[in-house]
């Protein structure tokens, strides 16, 4: 995974709560498991009409937000199906940071496996950021969000922060210690099954 670097772009405000993974990637694309390219299916039913023409009123179709890497949205983002395709689509589309008052559990965990930083912020700060017209800087190292006029700090689990900053993923990280793990298991008296 690539190391997570400082990001500075405008934010894409998606003013909606309980955005479920069926909306992030509709079911017809779940069969596809190619390596990349899920970005084009992101929010498919919101972005395109029946003839697959872009819907003018959907925010992602506004050219202004084309280079935005930061999605700011409502509570319980990513609820519903556990499909990891939802995170693949957000990442492939270009989002690196998602800011919301709360996230669904499996979705939240899937983000870190794919280099996306989900940030939980108090509702009032999320609202403020939705209306931020200038660029927002996301500084993971110092856990700070900077706009032209203010700084907002955010919390993150230190292990998860390390994973993103160093571009590690859980599996490769653990497997680096394979020898030590098997050594430990030989000595361990932990019963493995009931």
């Amino acid at each position: 995974m690539e190391k997570f670097k400082k990001i500075k772009t405008i934010v894409t405000p998606l003013d909606q709560v309980n955005v479920d993974t069926d909306q992030i990637v509709p079911k017809q694309f779940l069969k596809l498991i190619q390596k990349s390219g899920f970005g084009k299916y992101l929010f498919f039913n919101w972005r395109y009409d029946e003839n697959e023409n872009q819907k003018k009123d959907f925010i992602l179709n506004d050219k202004k937000y084309q280079n935005s890497k930061i999605l700011v949205t409502g509570e319980n983002f990513g609820c519903g199906s556990s499909r990891e395709h939802a995170v693949w689509a957000l990442q492939d589309y270009g989002f690196s940071v998602i800011i919301a008052p709360s996230f669904a559990d499996i979705f939240f965990s899937n983000c870190f496996k794919n280099g996306i930083l989900p940030i939980k912020l108090e509702e009032k700060n999320v609202e403020k950021l939705k209306h931020e017209s200038g660029e927002l800087e996301v500084d993971l190292e110092n856990q700070i969000l900077k706009t032209n006029s203010e700084q907002i700090s955010f919390d993150i689990d230190s292990h998860k922060k390390k994973i993103l900053l160093e571009g590690l993923d859980d599996i490769s990280q653990t497997l680096q210690f394979e020898d030590k793990i098997s050594e430990f298991e030989k000595q361990s008296k932990i019963p493995s099954v009931l």
Binding site: K31, G80, E84, A104, D105, N114, I171, L175, P191, L194
Partner: protein
């Protein structure tokens, strides 16, 4: 400790765990299906490129595979995914692969109880959000993403943050014509689709003692729709009998201590519950059936891990016996074993005589995959679990979630109908 804390303490080799502890737990069982399986294969390919050895699973005897979302294959991509899955299980020596067209198969969560694949006290993870279902057997059961499942397949363990537990104390027996689905819809309506987020939803009380194992499965299945990490019921003799009759042995019953702690306790009087539906487009948008909108339905769908267990089919048959459906009605038993029992006990004849179509086990239209998806503006009443926009087909279709009794009664009238109001 409560039951979840006990299971996770045992799984992580600790004396005691408390909410918010981060633990590394041994996994007892893992499930993948025809969507998460190919997803895992993709993760394995990526790891292989990074020089990581993915030639062997930690223990293929603890893994089982279901073909459910896109089977029987309606087009070639689904067919190819099934071939991929088949090669995967062959290469890794996974014997428990339930293939359609080859005896027992069905929806993954249904197989977990029909085949007694998961036992009380186990830590069970699956590549599907409704893995929560199986907590009704007294296991810690939760869904994970593809990368996490790949990790478990290689290492046999994964980290968890011990969840806080919300305890739902259910008092008394549900009235006739009211099912566990009505109760859980009421609860989700009260606490919202994130009301259980990151937490366990545990069900207990005399209402649970009175309830069948399959009804408990419905409760735990729908905890996913409240955002819960998992759902759980303390196992009792009913669970032992249920699993033993399906071939399980050596069942140990894990229960919480009498001084177990819960983050919050909710009380519900089961006897006061009413038939309830969730209106479009969210499972928490609930209303009692007698106050539901007077819409003309196009379809009634009786299927899925939530609403096509044997008990669900029996309930629908009770209503449809000697009656005719007024709208398209589909019944899709959730596994072949259920299909067979329904056939042997005459339920399928009741459905067919009523005019319904009986289909093969599959997730089918529940996830909008195939087998009767909805057209634009169509309105469906469904025993499934989600009614997000476009979930069952066209993005401008609508789904009302209900119990099998309500879905069957509504099939007869073409309107959302309380089974108590049928002539």
């Amino acid at each position: 400790m409560n039951i979840v804390e006990k299971i996770l303490a045992r799984g992580s080799g600790r004396e005691k765990v408390s909410p918010d502890d981060v633990i590394f737990a041994d996994i007892d069982k893992v499930m993948v299906h025809d969507v998460s399986g190919p997803g895992v294969i993709k993760v394995f390919d990526k790891l292989r490129k990074q020089g990581i050895n993915v030639d062997k699973l930690w223990d293929s005897s603890k893994v089982w595979v279901a073909e459910d979302h896109f089977v029987p294959s309606a087009e070639k991509i689904s067919a190819e995914n099934i071939v991929k899955l088949q090669n995967f299980t062959k290469n890794y020596g996974i014997e428990k692969h339930f293939k359609y067209g080859m005896g027992q198969y069905g929806i993954c969560h249904t197989l977990s109880h029909e085949e007694a694949l998961v036992l009380p006290g186990e830590v069970y993870v699956g590549g599907d959000s409704h893995t929560n279902t199986t907590g009704a057997l007294g296991a810690f059961a939760c869904g994970l993403g593809h990368t996490d499942i790949a990790y478990v397949l290689l290492n046999g363990k994964i980290w968890f943050k011990v969840p806080e537990t919300l305890y739902f104390k259910l008092n008394g027996k549900l009235p006739d014509h009211v099912m566990a689905k009505d109760l859980i819809l009421k609860i989700i309506g009260d606490i919202g689709t994130d009301g259980g987020a990151y937490r366990t939803m545990q069900f207990g009380g005399s209402g649970i003692d009175e309830m069948s194992v399959e009804s408990r499965l419905t409760l735990c299945n729908m905890t996913t729709e409240a955002g819960a990490k998992n759902g759980i019921v303390e196992p009792d003799q009913k669970v032992v009998d249920y699993l033993t009759s399906r071939g399980a042995s050596n069942i140990t019953l894990v229960k919480g201590d009498s001084d177990a702690e819960y983050a919050k306790v909710y009380e519900y009087e089961s006897s006061e519950m009413e038939p309830t539906v969730a209106k479009p487009f969210s499972p928490d948008n609930t209303v009692v059936v007698r106050e539901a909108p007077n819409v003309d339905l196009d379809k009634s769908y009786i299927g899925s891990c939530t609403g096509a267990k044997y008990e669900d089919l029996e309930a629908a048959a009770k209503i449809l016996k000697g009656r005719k459906v007024k709208i398209r009605t589909e019944v899709l038993p959730a596994a072949i074993s259920i299909y067979k029992r329904a056939m042997e006990n005459g339920l399928l004849k009741i459905f067919l005589d009523a005019g319904a179509t009986v289909g093969p086990p599959t997730c089918g239209a529940c996830c909008g995959a195939h087998m009767g998806v909805l057209a634009k503006d169509e309105i469906c009443i469904s025993t499934t679990n989600r009614n997000f926009p476009g979930r069952m087909g066209h993005v401008e279709s609508q789904t009302y979630l209900s119990s099998p009794l309500v879905a069957a009664a509504s099939a007869v009238t073409g309107k959302i109908t309380d089974p108590r109001d049928l002539n």
